[in-house]
Amino acid sequence: MKKKLGFDAAIEKLSRRTANKTGRRGFVGKLGGILVGATLLPLLPVDRRGRLKEAHAADASNLDLAREGWVPQDQDPQSCDYWRHCSIDGNVCDCCGGTLTSCPPGTSLSPSSWVASCYNPGDQQTYLIAYRDCCGKQTCGQCACLNTEGELPVYRPEFSNDIVWCFGAENDDMTYHCTISPVVGKAS
């Protein structure tokens, strides 16, 4: 018998091992499951608000809109143009396992904040928002927004959204995860 080269032997070994561990029925069953699942998936009720936001973010014309200035809405708190987010720079905690007023599990709520006056088109009132960062984990990455309505330079830090506002967070973790947008009063 012709001696097999190492390459052939390795491939044969790999094939035999795969065949031993994979039944044809199992393979067909799994394939069927995938096909049926793929067919049914679009029919399931899923939240597509995120997709809408992604489409906007990826669309160059969105920057044209952003340059026109701030036009808030009061329907979708996970969208960057939600009225409370008028001066947010970072990730909306509502998209990261938190809410508009609570941090996601496992993070810590910083006691420090920056502030902005945001107009709510729903009741036509302007409110004071004290943005608070949730800290102690890597950046969430979801619903990244850069809004600068009334935002001031870093030499006016109380109105600056570029600072990692994790001062005083648990264990002094100066690491940014996401931002909540609680109302703390009426601005007008």
């Binding site: 390795a10 701030w70 100066m174």
Partner: protein
């Protein structure tokens, strides 16, 4: 680990071993076919020149960052350096070294914090010094002037915001941290000759700090040079060669000063936009949105038609004016959404422009505005440009 898991793992390892052997054999076949074995080496980047560009990608406040070294002459990536959270990248000694101020946590985003300075040789990209500093770097979206080298490259300084405002002094000759120097409510660091550094204060004045090698400092305030409601952007242009500061406000008015050992000499502000352009809503916008070619005294401002309070949204146009008079020299369209610009300081200057959303560095002829090249795929959200100011 259970016995079952152990067996399963051993089986997997056997499979991996088999695949590795197969790959090795595949790689070895050409050698058997009498092909010369190629020599394998470590690359060394060419010496820095005025068109060397460092593009920093801090992500969106991510724990790790990347600093890409790019030869702006041909848009070739020469290497990459690692950095921690929100790093400051400083280039000194005519581009021969790069210092990066880092923050790092031993449990990724929590645990013990470690701040340190790494110094790199810009050709080998190897670390030549590692200097521990107190855990006090002011962590913001990266503002390039919140850390600086001294004009003679002997010292490096970084800003602390909490628990008290201060500036950290690092001795780069002795490779050691010296002292935190207390400061009032002031921001940014602009080095001036004879061991002076300036900061901009909340009241609109400049603070001059004169320091000795032990970190003993004296401080002097200048006059207030801009009104309270003229908001200065976070990224001014400053040359540590000419010591000229050019600082746009949100509306396109440029405040300027020369920062010397004797004090700050303020110039009359210039307006980049005409009355008609202001009516058409032309305003500056982006991150590093102003740069000056020192020898020709040409100031470049990144701008677009935009509403109020959109000062960080990218722009598609550059206005070029005489930095002394504000006289319009050129205006060109970049045709990309640009966050930051920087001009090289040689006599055939290139304008480098980075788009964070496109993760691409674009290169333009600074005189004609013609696009020359591009480097794509620069990480996640690259938006910081660092060029040597004093290259030969």
């Amino acid at each position: 680990m259970t016995i079952f898991n152990l067996k399963s793992k051993l089986r997997q390892q056997g499979l991996v071993g088999g695949i590795a052997a197969a790959a090795l054999m595949t790689a070895a076949y050409p050698a058997l076919a009498d092909i010369a074995i190629e020599e394998m080496t470590l690359e060394v980047a060419p010496a820095s020149d005025s068109k060397r560009v460092y593009v920093t990608d801090p992500g969106h406040f991510q724990m790790t960052s990347q600093v890409f070294t790019i030869d702006g002459n041909n848009n070739k990536i020469l290497g990459m350096s690692d950095a921690g959270k929100l790093p400051h990248v400083l280039v000194g000694d005519k581009g021969n070294f790069m210092a990066i101020a880092n923050t790092w946590y031993d449990r990724i985003a929590r645990g013990n914090r470690d701040d340190y300075i790494e110094v790199f040789d810009t050709q080998t990209h190897k670390v030549t010094a590692d200097i521990d500093i107190p855990e006090g770097r002011f962590l913001t979206a990266v503002f390039t002037h919140m850390a600086t080298l001294s004009t003679d490259d002997k010292h490096m300084m970084f800003q602390q915001f909490s628990p008290i405002p201060a500036v950290g002094l690092v001795d780069l000759e002795a490779n050691k941290f010296v002292k935190m120097m207390d400061t009032p409510d002031c921001y940014h660091l602009f080095p001036a000759p004879e061991q002076n550094v300036y900061m901009h204060c909340r009241d609109g004045s400049m603070l001059k700090i004169n320091y000795d090698d032990e970190g003993n400092a004296t401080q002097t305030h200048s006059k207030v040079f801009h009104p309270e409601d003229s908001y200065l952007v976070n990224e001014p242009y400053y040359s540590d060669v000419t010591n000229r500061l050019a600082w746009p406000d949100y509306e396109g008015r440029i405040y300027q000063a020369k920062l010397t050992a004797d004090g700050a000499e303020f110039m009359d502000p210039i307006d980049v936009f005409t009355k008609e352009e202001k009516a058409e809503k032309w305003r500056p916008g982006g991150w590093q949105l102003v740069t000056i070619h020192n020898d020709s005294n040409e100031l470049y401002l990144l701008a677009d038609k935009r509403g109020k309070w959109t000062h960080k949204t990218p722009s598609r146009y550059v206005f070029v004016v005489d930095a002394n008079t504000g006289e319009r020299l050129r205006k060109f369209e970049l045709k990309h959404e640009i966050d930051s610009i920087a001009v090289s300081q040689d006599d055939k200057p290139y304008l480098f422009a980075v788009s964070a959303n496109e993760q691409t560095l674009y290169t333009f002829d600074a005189k004609t505005g013609k696009k020359i090249g591009e480097t794509a795929g620069l990480g996640r959200y690259p938006h910081i440009l660092t060029l040597p100011q004093d290259s030969e």
